[in-house]
Symmetry: C2
Subunit: 310 residues, 2 copies
């Protein structure tokens, strides 16, 4: 693989930035990678891990001479970072981001764009419940989707180049309208996260069941919620504040639907419940066929079932 960008700058050094750096080094698609983070402790851990070629103390020096700048900070910090780096961006540079929300990021970033700098918003659909510079790994993006929401007037040559770089990290790239992105993610990610946080919160507040009981008996379904609800609080606060309309829309539908099932339980309408639970199985089958999850029972988490011919 040949070098796609001579100099790449990573602003923010969490799970995603760390994984980008390790994946790009492995692929040889970046000449030099410079990283920075606001916290001295994060920079020091990243230095110890040799996460980037160079770690600098501020974003202004990080972006100097950079051909590609990737904003890897929570959505709420994007505007501030842009105002800091704006005077230091090279003419012809590409700026992208990894935020989970796209319309609001465009509104925060676009006003700061200097003449001759290309902004191509992006969002890798990859992550784990862990955060911080030590949690990154080169394989994070393999066979995962990375959505780009380029604006209508963006140089298509630069979009192709960014796609090439992202593919070098192992991801599949697809374009989407920013508003549609925010709706799709509200369904596949944002609302499920809010619901998981809520369910874990309910368990936490319930005094008749002890925390030790919740923890011991979590394998029955609850532990998947706790994994989701262990994700980075700052990132998720910013997601909800910045994708408000779509999340509130999906939440409204969710509550409506939940009330119908709740009523079926109260009224003893077993047929309604059975039909509903049967339909939802089909979606699961689709996800496994699309290679976005494993069919191994329980994700092959614990002891594994033996191979068996049948």
């Amino acid at each position: 693989m040949s070098v796609v960008y001579n100099k790449v700058a990573l602003i923010g050094l969490g799970l995603i930035a760390g994984s980008i750096s390790l994946a790009a080094k492995r692929a040889g698609s970046a000449g030099q990678i410079t990283g920075t983070a606001r916290s001295a402790r994060t920079r020091s851990i990243a230095r110890d891990l040799r996460l980037c070629d160079v770690i600098v103390d501020n974003s202004a020096s990080a972006v100097r001479d950079a051909d590609l700048v990737i904003l890897c900070v929570p959505v709420g910090a994007m505007g501030k970072v842009m105002s800091e780096i704006k005077p230091h961006l090279k003419r012809g540079a590409v700026v992208t981001d990894v935020g989970s929300v796209k319309q609001e990021v465009i509104e925060l970033v676009a006003p700061h764009l200097p003449e001759g700098v290309h902004f191509i918003p992006g969002h890798p659909l990859a992550g784990t419940e862990q955060s911080g510079p030590h949690s990154g790994f080169a394989e994070l993006f393999e066979n995962r989707w990375w959505l780009l929401t380029p604006l209508p007037d963006t140089d298509s040559h630069e979009v192709s180049r960014l796609r090439r770089f992202i593919r070098s990290l192992g991801a599949n790239v697809e374009d989407m309208e920013p508003a549609h992105h925010d709706l799709v993610l509200a369904v596949t990610s944002h609302t499920p996260h809010l619901i998981a946080y809520t369910m874990v919160g309910v368990a936490d507040h319930l005094t008749r069941v002890t925390e030790s009981e919740i923890i011991k008996y979590s394998a029955a379904g609850f532990r998947d919620f706790t994994r989701i609800a262990a994700s980075d609080p700052t990132m998720w606060r910013d997601v909800f504040l910045n994708n408000k309309e779509a999340v509130l829309d999906i939440l409204g539908r969710f509550t409506e639907e939940l009330f119908v099932l709740q009523r079926a339980i109260r009224m003893g309408d077993g047929e309604h419940l059975h039909d509903y639970f049967t339909r939802t199985r089909g979606i699961r089958r689709g996800i496994i066929e699309a290679g976005q999850d494993t069919a191994a029972p329980d994700f092959g988490r614990g002891p594994k079932p033996p191979e068996r011919s049948q």
Copy 2:
């Protein structure tokens, strides 16, 4: 390991019964295992897999001479099965079940108990999203909890013996009050399942987002919900109909809490959201420390992060 029961009868041959049979054979804790299922197809698959020593066509013959009878049918079928086997139970036999609800099972089973037969209700907290006789495996119960809710007048010698048999399958045994069991499970299992079914249903009904988009981009959180929502519809219908009070109680708390978070999003109260999301992380840590889940990011589902010293 020595034989704990000479003859064990399994009524129903799904994931749990299959796993019990394979685990007991491996442990040598059952002299002979006889199984039966209502469906001829299930019996035929179980025969092909050699799931039990003997497969018979009806529950009456299955329980004849059995020292231990395990009811492995959906909760709603327990009463019917009991009325069928009642005249054929051996004096001194132990009857247990694996239903996810305990108070209602006791009400369904107890009236049918002949003199001299011991009923000890139970519930293994183990399972996968797969169902049917081919989905069982001997390791399913390893390091999982198996709750017993013995009634006050039960022969304690028989309870100890059943505990010994369950431990031979690899599980940890604990006693609990039936009503408390139903509340704990409403929190750790039943309500999370209903919520997951609902979220998958919402995605399914949303016409502005295609099913193929939902499936492709599911890795962002949604796929964990689809796994839960792929569980056996009949079993889950019966759980909700038979643990109505506790589920409706927890659902009420869930909706209340969800509305508070929803309002925080609408009002832009980032501090409230951040505090909430920070508290829920602690529960996750407890589950990992208790050995009920792996700390590997993403459950080690996809490509694995390399070992790294730090």
